[in-house]
């Protein structure tokens, strides 16, 4: 049995900036170090932002298409829910390395893993949103002579919008969190500084703080989008997972 500390970076923190005592003592938050070293976080932050947006967009396109395909073909819904559910259960960390022989490590793997995780939530919420459109509204649309396609794009989808965006919010916020694990796929996200100096408190507060702020900003932006796009906003259903 090999000893653990031997090959894992615990205690491997090398703090050699300017020799202030705060870093040497690993104080709670070293403002001086933070000010001098903040540029280190720029690339991870931008990569993190980029990979989250890309993964959610790809996940949305796939899940939304699946929802449209299964709309009106109810027998497909359990199959799609089951498939996305099984994919969602595979641990992200394991998923990265299961892809190792297929796509190697890098951006492709990271984006596959992250987009696959968004499918379940976006798909389920879109299907629920479409299913909850009041029959009266659909009848009114039909009565006005709308075709199925017009009904979908002008009545059903607009009314389902609050639930679709609710799904996007959950998916985006969780993707911000999971993207930190992509350091293990060799992608330089905010997980990289965390992993490289895992016991340096200032570093952890900066990298962790940036992720929490990012999640909050994405969440607020999507909420704002929902308010603007669906001002009539129905009473949204509380979703128990």
């Amino acid at each position: 049995m090999t000893g653990l500390g031997a090959h894992l970076p615990l205690g491997a923190v090398v703090i050699h900036q300017h020799g202030g005592t705060c870093q040497a003592d690993n104080g709670t938050f070293c403002f001086g170090w933070a000010a001098d070293n903040f540029h280190r976080y720029t690339t991870p932050l931008l990569n993190h932002l980029f990979i989250v947006v890309l993964a959610v967009v790809i996940g949305f396109v796939i899940a939304f298409s699946m929802a449209l395909i299964s709309h009106g073909r109810g027998w497909l819904i359990p199959a799609f829910t089951g498939t996305t559910g099984v994919l969602y259960t595979i641990p992200s960390l394991a998923f990265i390395f299961l892809l190792l022989p297929i796509t190697g490590l890098g951006w492709t793997t990271a984006i596959i893993v992250l987009s696959v995780y968004t499918l379940q939530i976006i798909y389920r919420n879109t299907v629920a949103g479409l299913a909850n459109v009041p029959v009266d509204s659909k009848d009114a649309g039909r009565g006005m002579g709308m075709t199925d396609r017009q009904l979908l794009w002008r009545v059903e989808l607009p009314l389902a919008l609050p639930e679709i965006i609710a799904g996007l919010r959950i998916a985006t916020v969780s993707t911000v969190a999971i993207a930190s694990l992509m350091v293990f796929a060799n992608v330089n996200t905010l997980g990289s500084p965390l992993y490289q100096q895992i016991t340096f408190k200032t570093n952890i507060l900066i990298a962790g703080g940036l992720m929490i702020i990012m999640a909050f900003v994405f969440d607020s932006l999507l909420l704002l989008a929902q308010r603007l796009l669906a001002p009539w906003r129905r009473q949204s259903r509380r979703m128990a997972t």
Binding site: L93, L100, D219, T241
Partner: protein, 243 residues
């Protein structure tokens, strides 16, 4: 032609990984023997130990809190806020935070992973308890039951399916992430997947396979428990509703 070679490469990589699980081999770093059934079983055991300790801690906090708040129909905003915040917790930052600010070792790591399990269990317990039909509660009260009896004989049995759904989510969150405990001085299957320089690609993929299998197994076992714990009346009601 290249297609075939690619497929063979993928297959042999997974073959090497299974070989790593079942047969000891020399480490990439030389000298020591790694892998094989002994180390694999040891790490699976460690992985499960940390998972169940963290899950037990999460249950001990989240279920009583959810039961009390749900029974009283109080603290809805609080429970939902915790549930939503739970999704935003970056696992890596959490384990790093605990390692740096609280410490490494089994107890601290257990605490870190319990934090991942609490939100889904808390919110589902709350929702399950507070959604119990008011008429059922009133009927129980009319029969002379006190609050404790109502909780244990009426509300909890009816809330079990919802609570168990939360326990499943929480347990899967935990077992999927426990590999990171290896970064904080506690051996788990994370040793394999985070120790590429020692265990090689075969070890890394072996770790990923074992973690995925454990997670899916736990999910299935908990689904079975959920089904077994669901009161017969609820199952009948659902079967009736479905047909």
């Amino acid at each position: 032609m290249t297609q075939t070679i690619l497929h063979l490469g993928v297959l042999s990589a997974f073959g090497d990984a299974f070989n790593f699980i079942f047969h000891q081999q020399v480490a990439r770093t030389g000298k020591v023997m790694v892998g094989g059934p002994d180390q694999s079983l040891h790490l699976i055991g460690q992985h499960l130990k940390v998972t169940f300790l963290a899950l037990a801690a999460a249950l001990a906090v989240a279920v009583p809190a959810g039961v009390i708040l749900g029974h009283l129909h109080k603290g809805e905003t609080f429970a939902i806020a915790i549930g939503n915040a739970g999704r935003a917790v970056p696992e890596l930052a959490l384990i790093a935070f605990v390692a740096a600010f609280i410490g490494v070792g089994l107890i601290n790591v257990t605490f870190a992973f319990a934090v991942l399990g609490i939100p889904p269990i808390l919110i589902n317990t709350f929702v399950g308890m507070s959604q119990v039909d008011r008429n059922a509660v009133e009927a129980a009260r009319g029969m002379g039951m006190n609050d404790l009896q109502i909780i244990f004989r009426v509300e909890l049995p009816l809330a079990v399916p919802t609570i168990m759904a939360g326990v499943r989510t929480g347990a899967v969150n935990i077992i999927a992430t426990v590999a990171l405990a290896s970064l904080a001085g506690v051996s788990t299957l994370g040793d394999y997947i985070l120790g590429r320089n020692v265990y090689g690609d075969a070890g890394v993929i072996a770790g990923a396979i074992l973690i995925a299998l454990l997670t899916v197994t736990l999910e299935l076992v908990l689904a079975g428990i959920q089904w077994a714990l669901t009161p017969r009346g609820l199952k009948l009601a659902r079967a009736g509703a479905a047909t």
